[in-house]
Amino acid sequence: MSDETPGSFLPSVVLHEHLMRTPDPAADADALHPGRFDPPREWTPDLLPKTDYEAALPADVGLMEFNDFHDIPDDSLDRAIRRVVAVEGPVHFDVLADRLLEATGVGRLGARIRARIESRLETLTGPGPAGAGALERQCAFIGLPTQLLQPRYRDWRAAPEKTRQLDHVSDSELMLAMLRAVLDDGVRDRERAMNDGLHAIGFIRLTEKARGRLQRPVEQLKARGWLN
């Protein structure tokens, strides 16, 4: 420590980021920052370490007792949808349907089953009775409000092969992947963020199709000033 050294806030910024990236399980009070643990109201990056993608197991979905999909009562199907979303949200409609079909032993997603699931999702995501509107839907993705605004940083290499498609990753999760690449590389370059961001979550090649998929998340990051 020396009075001659010109000071700077840079070491504080770097250390603050390091502390944000470190799990803090003992933290449950918000006297210093009231509302710290309130659900996010806008897209918020998750800075905790990356975790493996976790898929909902058929036994956990709770539909094994039904032999025909159409025999499943609404409340059982709602409960099963909530379980899948809790584990995998934000989850793509196709992935959600896969988990439900796998749990009941049905091989193909037909029009009637699709319509039934869509109908239940409409109820679960719409303004209904108490508790019924806890889920949210953004285009093809369903999740809890927190999952959509602050998705987990997941490694999709651990996802089942059929699930592991870039189209199954939500915009908010793609935004997170690219922002984490920016933070790790220390460079706000758009091309590098796309390449490294995709690679970090398990998608190896930045193809033209992938570029197209990333267009909207990139624009949203640019609008927030995270990317150049």
Binding site: S8, L10, E17, L32
Partner: protein, 326 residues
Amino acid sequence: MGLFNIGNKDRDGRQKRIEHRGRYLRASRTGLVALRAHVKAAGVNVTGNTRRGVRVSTRLAKNTQVAMQNGRFVLRGRYGSDTARFNLSKTGVTVSSRVGLGSVNWLRPGRSSAKFAGVQLRGHKAAVINLVALAATSVVWALGLLGRGLAGILQFSVGQWQRARQAREGIQLSIDDVAPVGERVLAEYDVAPEREPVRDLFAALVYLVAVMGRGDHRLDEARVLADAPNQPLAATLVEDMQVAGRSLTRWLGEPSDEQSPAVLLGVLHHLARGLADRVDEATRAELVFALDDACLALGPRSILQDAMLDVLVESLGVELTLTGER
């Protein structure tokens, strides 16, 4: 090898004796030119020299030689180290040491030797030269020692003076003095630092030392962002500091001349303790340096900031070792 050894150095880095020494020919200032030949048979060395005659010698023991040279019996031995070398001859034993520019024989100074610029000297003249060189070396060494001693005394005195000045100007409050004051404030607002998120504890510490430590309550947001232009999360620290600053201002009141430093230092101590227990040793050390840098970001440290850093070092359990200190 240079002509007559000129430019060649001995093991002490000095000019070697100026002479020519070939297989059969030796030429030097005092020995002039001599032809030599040497054979060894049955453990006996026979040496012929055009200026010295014939010598027949053998090794009696380690470092001991007996010889016959032109009808004279020769006995010589050299034992010991450079510091005290024992020399054996027919007439007895003498003691010599390597000092100054050569070797001084303490019992028979006339057998001393010295070498200066490659010229070998022997006898009393060599003893005098060695003693003069020894005296000169001693004077230089003593002056060096005196200089180092004076520098040490001066450094110690300046250190004492600075410590005394800091003690006069500083805030004389120990952790024991400030901890109960801080505890009362935090208890009044039901704050448990050990349960606050570490990112908020750190933001609060930065606000305390960098802003409140200067008697201010407004954060220079632009300055923080300017210091970290390539850090996407700099704005997050600013936001965390602003929110923590509002909480701290509510608990401590706005800074004023009447405000006791014990309150600020006490709260600082407890927030730092809440953080220290949840991060590793390296991070605790980085915390101190980062907060010191934040203090200096807006100018030289104030007396309150000096006291805050002293409290932080102790509260965070960081051991600072100055460069060169063991």
